[in-house]
Symmetry: D2
Subunit: 262 residues, 4 copies
């Protein structure tokens, strides 16, 4: 007797992402052997998430955004954590997972929140507001930290300009529609005018614009950032492995944490 006569067990794990049979690996309906050697990694990411292969110009834009976010050094908790994990006697997989796990709402979620902000700007515009007013209203409705704008370290994030240049060229060429780009620039202009200190677009904002232009829903801005930052996390964990430290703490061993209460 078959162990799954009703098919309920097979359906519990039903998926359109991939399909396996003995000797067969289909990814989004395509035999894997047709993809190996013909398909770039950025296109593969697109295919796996969305079910179809992208046009080359769109894949290239995605790839640029993924490249831009790979690392921001050990002052980022994700990187420091992965490096410390790598000294604790776990595999590289667990060191990477430890870093990825903290790309939460505050560390990896700004892109997602920025797409939501831009979607809100565009909804207000669709309802009749001029773009500048829509941007101002969407910012006013949101949290004090405007996601995707401002950086406590960089006066101007060096990743902003090259990403915006690529997005603008893609919009000019009709590769993307350019609406989220316009919305993002309107938010940036509003913040420039409204705040005493500059709050320019940062990496999260610039990549959020690109991901949204390419049609990825907001949560995938976080998901794609995870793939991007995983590259830096691996590189740092691997470098740390080579240093030979065991159980690396956050500060030199000679410094003991202070008491919080006086």
């Amino acid at each position: 007797m078959t162990i799954d006569p009703t098919g309920a067990v097979a359906r519990w794990w039903a998926t359109d992402v991939s399909h396996m049979e003995p000797g067969v690996v289909e990814l989004r309906g395509r035999p894997v052997q047709e993809l190996i050697g013909t398909t770039g990694l950025a296109s593969m990411i697109w295919l796996m998430i969305r079910g179809e292969l992208p046009e080359p110009a769109r894949a290239a834009l995605l790839e640029a955004a993924l490249v831009a976010g790979v690392d921001h050094g050990p002052q980022a908790p994700s990187i420091a954590i992965a490096r410390m994990a790598a000294t604790c006697g776990v595999g590289l997989n667990s060191a990477i997972a430890s870093g990825v796990n903290v790309l939460g709402d505050a560390h990896g979620g700004a892109g997602q929140q920025c797409v939501e902000l831009l979607d809100r700007v565009l909804l207000l515009e669709d309802e009749g507001a001029p773009l500048a007013e829509a941007a101002a209203r969407a910012v006013a409705e949101g949290p004090r930290y405007v996601p995707g704008f401002g950086h406590r370290f960089h006066p101007r994030d060096p990743r902003r300009d090259p990403l915006m240049a690529l997005a603008e060229r893609a919009a000019a060429d009709g590769v993307v529609a350019g609406r989220h780009l316009r919305a993002g620039l309107a938010v940036e202009a509003h913040l420039d005018a409204a705040r005493s200190s500059p709050v320019p677009m940062n990496i999260d904002g610039a990549t959020a614009i690109i991901y949204a232009e390419l049609g990825f829903p907001a949560p995938l801005a976080r998901g794609l950032f995870v793939l991007s930052r995983s590259v830096g996390i691996l590189a740092h964990a691997w470098e740390e492995t080579g240093q030979g430290t065991r159980n690396k703490g956050p500060i030199p061993r000679a410094v003991l944490p202070a008491r919080l209460s006086p």
Copy 2:
């Protein structure tokens, strides 16, 4: 007074992977703005791990291996875990981390172990053994499961042939030296002859050969597999998010786990 007059705190987190100053993001010594839009994701992975950009033909071989391993469906614990995690009220980052975390010695470590096996074969050959004998001896010394060979599901892994074809072409073109490829084929031939049931090369073996040919040390076979499989993990976690299930268990709710002891 400066808070780090001796530099010991800065040195505690010293790294060559990246360097930040206000307005500056350097990745392996290169300003990020020079990399965005000019560098593919596979080349970026290479650069971040190894400190230099690869030749295009070598980047393409790396990219093919990364594409090949993205997914093997929900019967893989990493995929099932990420899908379940995505229903538990955590962010996509934590769902992905949950999947990545289990790419341990048994699930994600075969590539690393296979590189070590092939290194052993080549060492024995360097010491004078004919290649076939070196392969037989290295297999005999190792564990019962020969890492990188055999698959409990696929009689022949459909990812083997396209990857080996790429590796062979790369060796023929002088893109790689071809020694690990020869060693891997020798192990495969030995297993074909020595075992009653076939034990052909699997995805871990084929990618291990490529990573080793490209000069990545054994632990990075695992690290690179993590990056590759993260793509499938994200795609599955995202698909599951769209299904609306809460707290998805491993089997349909109507089936209750049995008692282990009779």
Copy 3:
């Protein structure tokens, strides 16, 4: 020259939880040697979180709640994930972490949300509403799933009655004030009257009442549940380790996941 002359580095990691000097381990200001052998685990949990040791009757109530939540079998994603992780070649620590990681808003957050609900009921009562009305209004304002009430598996959660009996005795004895208990029972009574099918208090609700009565803020209902469920997660991961399975998937190997789209 000292490496931290301003103390800024020591202060970056300032804590009142513990203090170390060579030969000294102080936990919440108490030498560890005074705690070992004199202090129970539940009291230690209380001390570490809150900075003071509890009265024995309050520690006993905490302990009962912690005991109640240790396990609900492999249909819970946290348990299934830990068991699968244990077969993938990672340490017990990573298997446990994999399970704990998914105790998110949907899986481990109900207690926290229930405390927030009960706090809301009590605020409405403080503002003058009769308790029954306060409960009805707080429920009406909240999500469709009332956190802490109802169970898709148990018509009546067998952990409810013993926990409520302990809470009621503690309230009668003046060990706790009993306000959250009254609020919880009022919510239960309201749901009994308002819904067609019964929605009795579940483990999350019963423990949330106890944690809140003991003065733990809402997020710690989740934190304490993590400690509690970790016991079951460890027990299951360990049992699975003894089964010898490698890379355990979610369903028997012979069943292949179906296609999601027809």
Copy 4:
């Protein structure tokens, strides 16, 4: 038609740890309502792992060991990581998981390795070696870091003496057999004599002796340490949550990581 006519799906998740039916929660064969309010947390841990309730004196010894290991401050990677994670916008569950995940071979595995060392000492003694010689040989066979002995921070770990006093009393009272205790003291005496600087027993060694005396296999020394340290991890993550920092890096923001290469 039933969806699991052969029972294979139910058996795939078979367990003796717990059993659920509607209205029934059995833990190790005991109805949960009989355990709530009657059973301490340490006894519950024992029951869940081993299937039977311990004698009170044995539960008390387990409890003392669990209490001893809860925390060693933010210089421990597990603690620092959990504090950093708590600032990144993930739930307490994920902050705790991030800390637990790094209790790997180097950070949380010393207890497990120490039990293995003591088992080896006792095996050599069983084979006829005098205890002191057995200890010397087992140490000589092992790694340079003798697991469970020596501490880079404490000249003498303040947790050693109270734990050893409890273990000795338990042995004197016949609560435990005392063989692992003798083996541990023999290793300590050997190291005292053999090494130029003192290498006294540390927390991992002292708890390993107790866990082994109580009959827990070596891997559970790690598993139990995870439960113990989870208490401190939660306390630290919760304290950090109250500080309001976002994306806490490892060192004060003003200090930038140095370059590794000159």
